[in-house]
Symmetry: C2
Subunit: 132 residues, 2 copies
DNA sequence: TATAGGGATTCCAGCTACTGGAAGGTCAAG
DNA sequence: CTTGACCTTCCAGTAGCTGGAATCCCTATA
């Protein structure tokens, strides 16, 4: 299979697939013409990567998950740890963004938003008023 | 004021302040020794930037906010628009992360997390089961 | 057979917003 | 005069791609 077909099958752009090869996530063979020749297993791996990335796992997480996936003797706890850590990061990111949102909502609410020049948002940013 | 003092006063690392000068967010004068010589206004600007960045505004947002801040005739609506757009981005990011979190929670919950090799998380990633 | 197109290849650069580090200049204290 | 803290510039790297240029390969049609 050529890269174009694999791109379609895995849902990843060809550019991304080349990049994944660069960083050693997949190692397709090469045909005589120099084209990458992907096996079914490669396509599978790329689909796996696509799904894992869409779940927000980092490339390094994906690398670990892939090697666990390929290790038929791994403990499911290892996988769960990676996922749990990821979940924790997501949870704190959500909390952080929610706090930000509350602050912004307050500021926006206080700003009359017309063509007068005085603006509580800028006042807050400049430190002349304490918010948050 | 030298960069070290400004760093302390504004809460930004010296490296970051130099970077902000590079990209034209501040333009401190220079002393005879080549050191940056920051005015009170510069310190003010940097504190403004620090606060805006901590609220998650992008550098380009900050650039706009700063120029609005310096324009005594600007309409508060302009500021409010930037802040509202930012709020919208934050809101959708939160929703996205929450959806991710739900999926991950489900997967983690289904994984027994012991030293047996079978793992629903990897099964999902490999596409052998439909989740989400 | 020439050519046109659609793919494939490599490599280089750029995105965001810094951050680390090296090599060196400056200043104040002792 | 030396020491150490501070400052300078410049280069490279972070994450994860993405765009683009120059070139090559394959297939089909005139």
């Amino acid at each position: 299979m050529n890269i174009g077909d694999v791109a379609e099958a895995s849902g990843l752009p060809a550019k991304t697939i080349r990049y994944y090869e660069d960083i050693g996530l997949v190692r397709p063979k090469r045909g005589q013409n120099g084209y990458r020749a992907f096996s079914e297993a490669d396509v599978y791996k790329l689909a796996f990567l696509s799904r894992a990335r869409s779940l927000g796992f980092s490339i390094e997480d994906c690398r670990s998950l892939m090697s666990l996936y390929e290790d038929r003797d791994r403990a499911s706890a290892d996988v769960r740890n990676i996922a749990s850590d990821h979940l924790d990061r997501i949870t704190s990111k959500i909390a952080e963004l929610q706090s930000l949102r509350r602050t912004l909502e307050t500021l926006i609410h206080r700003c009359h938003g017309d063509d007068r020049p005085d603006c509580p948002i800028l006042d807050d940013l400049s430190g002349s008023e304490a918010t948050q």
